[in-house]
């Protein structure tokens, strides 16, 4: 853009982009220049026509929007909890899983742990919980369970898994007895 020809400033003047000094200088030029007057008139006319046409165009239907930021709770706070909240919740879940797995809060598991400790239990009380003693055969020999069974014995498992484990314990001597009878 060069300021040597004031006629080139007509659009900048129309868009109000000239400084006050430039605008006053152009207004002095405008009073004498018919071409600039015509250009200015055409610019005003085309802008007015565009605005008029768009203000009278048939618009798409917009469903009623009844939303304001004060009435609707923020989705950000609802759907995204803070990181410290997630970490705290995860820690609580881990601790709960640890306690349950180790029988700290499960009384049934606590009894099962105490079955080998005879001093802590009444000797007259019949044992309701199966133990490794159930795997003793009729001829008095201790039937040591296989390695994988022993491994599971020392593993903290859920009650369901324990039930299935003792089912294995009961079955192994029976199978061995039936084999010895056949022999």
């Amino acid at each position: 853009m060069t300021n040597s020809d004031p006629c080139q400033l007509v659009e900048l003047y129309y868009d109000d982009l000239l400084t006050s000094e430039q605008a006053s200088g152009f207004e002095e030029h405008l009073s004498d220049c018919q071409w600039c007057k015509q250009q200015l008139s055409e610019l005003q006319g085309i802008d007015r026509d565009i605005a008029l046409a768009w203000n009278q165009v048939s618009l798409p239907e917009v469903s009623k929007v009844d939303v304001s930021l004060e009435t609707v709770p923020s989705s950000v706070t609802i759907r995204r909890p803070a990181i410290w909240q997630i970490l705290a919740l995860s820690l609580c879940l881990l601790l709960a899983a640890f306690w349950v797995g180790n029988g700290i809060v499960n009384p049934e598991r606590r009894v099962a742990r105490g079955s080998s400790d005879t001093s802590a239990r009444d000797p007259e009380e019949p044992s309701t919980t199966p133990s490794i003693a159930d795997s003793v055969t009729e001829d008095g020999q201790t039937d040591t369970p296989p390695a994988f069974v022993r491994a599971r014995e020392s593993t903290a498992v859920a009650p369901v898994a324990r039930t299935s484990r003792f089912t294995v314990y009961k079955l192994i001597p029976q199978i061995r007895t039936s084999v010895s009878e056949k022999e």
């Binding site: 605005a51 165009v57 618009l59 930021l69 923020s74 950000v76 706070t77």
Partner: protein
């Protein structure tokens, strides 16, 4: 912060129509714009100086995303004026209604960026700097684009008007 979406919905629908050139696309664009505006309003502590330009910026970005997904710009359809549309224009070769329809048709034939700049400046009355900020372009680019768009529109309207007069 409170944004009155109802207040700006008509202007937003009109702008969406100018962007898309089709009524069905404009409806979808308005809905998506409002959804995005509600989603991105933050926790309510964000200060929005000009809600109208904020909504328009979201509409522009939504439309660009849609075009990018479809990998092409959808074709526009001829727009129609409302039945009671009248205007006192300076064009003597056509009736006012015909002249406005010519302006609309010619406007729709402009490239996308020129349509955006011309609409925001002339219809909505945003300043050059506001238009540049909304469209993510420089002020110099905005001025040049606006000047070219006006020139094209004037020339094409004059050509159509001369053709109508010659018949």
């Amino acid at each position: 912060m409170k944004v009155d979406f109802e207040k700006h919905s008509q202007a937003l629908a009109r702008f969406a129509l100018s962007l898309t050139g089709r009524h069905e696309f404009a409806e979808d664009l308005v809905q998506e714009t409002l959804l995005r505006a509600i989603r991105h309003r933050g926790n309510g502590e964000t200060v929005i100086q000009n809600p109208k330009s904020w909504l328009f910026t979201i509409a522009v970005n939504c439309w660009r995303d849609q075009c990018r997904r479809q990998k092409r710009m959808p074709a526009t359809e001829p727009l129609h004026l409302v039945d009671e549309a009248v205007a006192a224009t300076g064009n003597t070769n056509q009736t006012p209604r015909e002249h406005l329809e010519t302006v609309l048709t010619t406007f729709q034939e402009l490239p996308q960026r020129q349509r955006e700049v011309l609409y925001l400046r002339t219809v909505e009355g945003f300043s050059i700097s506001e238009v540049a900020e909304m469209l993510g372009i420089t002020e110099g680019n905005t001025k040049t684009t606006l000047s070219i768009a006006r020139k094209k529109l004037r020339e094409r309207c004059a050509r159509v008007g001369a053709g109508e007069a010659g018949r």
